[in-house]
């Protein structure tokens, strides 16, 4: 009889063994994700390199690095000012801790990656913002990096392609971050006045001080499908106006209809789309 009796397996947790580390199941991280677009469950693998929902075409979030990899020719991107770090200039409560946890969780130094690369052989300055770092908010470092990018592009007579994604100006740097809006706008204006091309690609979400500055200053302004783009966030609008917001309000399609963006370009078409625009503006083509 004995050999048929069941014995409960030893569970180390029951012995509160501090050295016990639960064995992670052999499932890769985020095997499945829920699509915010259609609420369907999607295998991560199925979203492909463009990270698009195979069922509804929803554009999942891309990191700045993924975006640059998608858009630039392999190995052509050279990052600038990669080691610039934010400081808690106002002594704002909790900002140091927030910066630290953002650096750890995003493995980034700040909310934007800037540099120079090639898109189907065309030279361009490129920047991409990253939601993983304090929701892409703009403080001194984001302002300075983008300003330098436009200044370098002006010196070298090169176009700029910028992927925006931001919750707005970074509250923790107070008025200093507000001033970054003016600072970047000055550099965009100088770049523009010298006849250089700037294409802004607005991605989900682009709001606040970034919308009210360089996101809306492109010669050509494109957006990804369904991206939320606005000055005030939808929650703020609902709270202040106490009105229910109309369906599709502040989405890319809405802005296209109201005349504030040039076109909506889904990810799989972006590289070629941008390359052709660069070609149409190349100085050699004159």
């Amino acid at each position: 009889m004995d050999k048929f009796s069941f014995k409960k397996t030893r569970n180390p947790l029951e012995f509160s063994d501090p050295s016990f580390q639960p064995r992670s199941p052999a499932i890769p991280e985020k095997l499945c994700i829920k699509c915010p677009g259609c609420s369907g469950i999607v295998f991560t693998e199925e979203t492909g390199p463009f990270k698009i929902c195979p069922k509804c075409g929803y554009h999942f979030r891309l990191s700045a690095k993924e975006r640059i990899d998608l858009i630039s020719d392999e190995g052509s991107f050279e990052e600038h000012d990669a080691n610039m770090l934010s400081r808690n200039i106002l002594g704002f409560p909790g900002y140091d801790a927030k910066l630290n946890s953002a650096r750890i969780s995003s493995r980034l130094k700040e909310a934007v990656i800037t540099g120079k690369g090639k898109i189907m052989g065309q030279h361009s300055y490129i920047f991409a913002m990253d939601a993983g770092f304090m929701m892409g908010s703009m403080g001194s470092v984001v302002g300075e990096k983008i300003t330098r990018l436009f200044e370098r592009a002006t010196d070298e007579k090169l176009p700029v392609i910028g992927f925006t994604l931001s919750g707005g100006a970074r509250m923790q740097e107070g008025t200093v971050s507000l001033m970054q809006m003016a600072k970047v706008s000055g550099a965009v204006k100088r770049h523009s006045d010298k006849g250089n091309l700037y294409i802004a690609v607005l991605t989900h979400p682009t709001t606040g001080g970034v919308t009210a500055s360089f996101a809306m200053e492109g010669d050509i302004i494109l957006a990804e499908p369904k991206a939320l783009i606005g000055f005030a966030g939808p929650r703020v609008i609902e709270q202040t106006t106490r009105q229910k917001l109309p369906e599709g309000f502040q989405r890319a399609e809405f802005l296209l209809n109201k005349g504030f963006i040039d076109d909506i370009v889904p990810r799989p078409r972006q590289k070629e789309y941008l390359a052709k625009l660069l070609m149409l503006h190349s100085r050699g083509a004159e």
Partner: protein, 260 residues
């Protein structure tokens, strides 16, 4: 006074508003209306006037004094057409070589459905860009609340001054408190943390000058401002345009701290 008391002073009922500054500092003020694209925004008053013998363009937020007027003027919170009217008159000033004087007093740009539909972000962005390169001198004076992008859209200038009790902030203390402490009652802490007083701004080199309020003697304030505006604009008008624009660019270019 602590930071929150400054915020309260800046918002205080009965504090002089844009029209008071216009009528007490300038003569022959002609108010001009409309952005030539959508409509006229009563939250921003704009026109031309004389500052002593100098023709100038004047642009001011107006919050209104009575409840009825406050509603009409949307409490000084401008819609896109307000910023576009301001830009239209700045471009006109550039054409006729007149300096521009802005009086800033707003809790922020309007954040309603209509403002979004008409491109609030785009309107502010365009002002920032165009003001950076406007070929005539610009002086902005923050007379009360300097609320975020809605204030900055009239404050890209060669010099920015603040009244002693004016405040300048990226977000309202209430907004900051509810985001950071999830509690609107922490407004005092937020006001401190945001560093929004005129003293703070001078320390951060975001403004050039604080105008004392002389214990609420605003006649003295108007007279002082009149003298300072005239003197400073006369100086700025003497600069070659390239120098003026380079200085304006550098003024904003140097703002920001980071380590490399």
């Amino acid at each position: 006074m602590d930071a929150y008391q400054r915020v309260q002073a800046a918002r205080k009922m009965g504090r002089p508003t844009g029209t008071d500054y216009i009528s007490n500092i300038f003569s022959d003020f002609f108010e001009f209306h409309g952005d030539r694209r959508f409509g006229d925004d009563p939250a921003i008053i704009a026109g031309i006037a004389r500052l002593d013998d100098m023709p100038v363009t004047v642009i001011a937020h107006e919050k209104g004094k009575t409840t009825k007027e406050k509603v009409l003027r949307n409490f000084g919170m401008a819609h896109p057409e307000g910023y576009r009217k301001a830009l239209r008159l700045m471009k006109q000033a550039e054409k006729f070589g007149r300096p521009v004087i802005c009086f800033v007093d707003t809790a922020g740009a309007d954040c309603g459905i209509a403002a979004e539909e008409r491109g609030q972000g785009q309107a502010i962005a365009e002002n920032l860009m165009e003001m950076m390169a406007l070929k005539v001198p610009i002086i902005s004076v923050l007379i009360g609340e300097g609320g975020s992008g809605g204030a900055l859209a009239l404050a890209v200038a060669d010099q920015v001054w603040m009244l002693e009790n004016a405040v300048y902030s990226v977000i309202s203390p209430e907004g900051c408190a509810s985001i950071l402490w999830k509690s609107p009652t922490k407004v005092k802490n937020a006001s401190e943390a945001l560093k929004l007083t005129a003293e703070d701004m001078l320390g951060l080199k975001i403004i050039e000058r604080i105008i004392p309020e002389n214990f609420g003697d605003f006649d003295w304030v108007y007279a002082t401002l009149k003298g300072l505006l005239y003197e400073t604009l006369a100086g700025l008008k003497g600069l070659p345009v390239e120098t003026l624009l380079q200085n304006r660019y550098e003024r904003f270019r140097r703002i920001g701290e980071y380590s490399e």
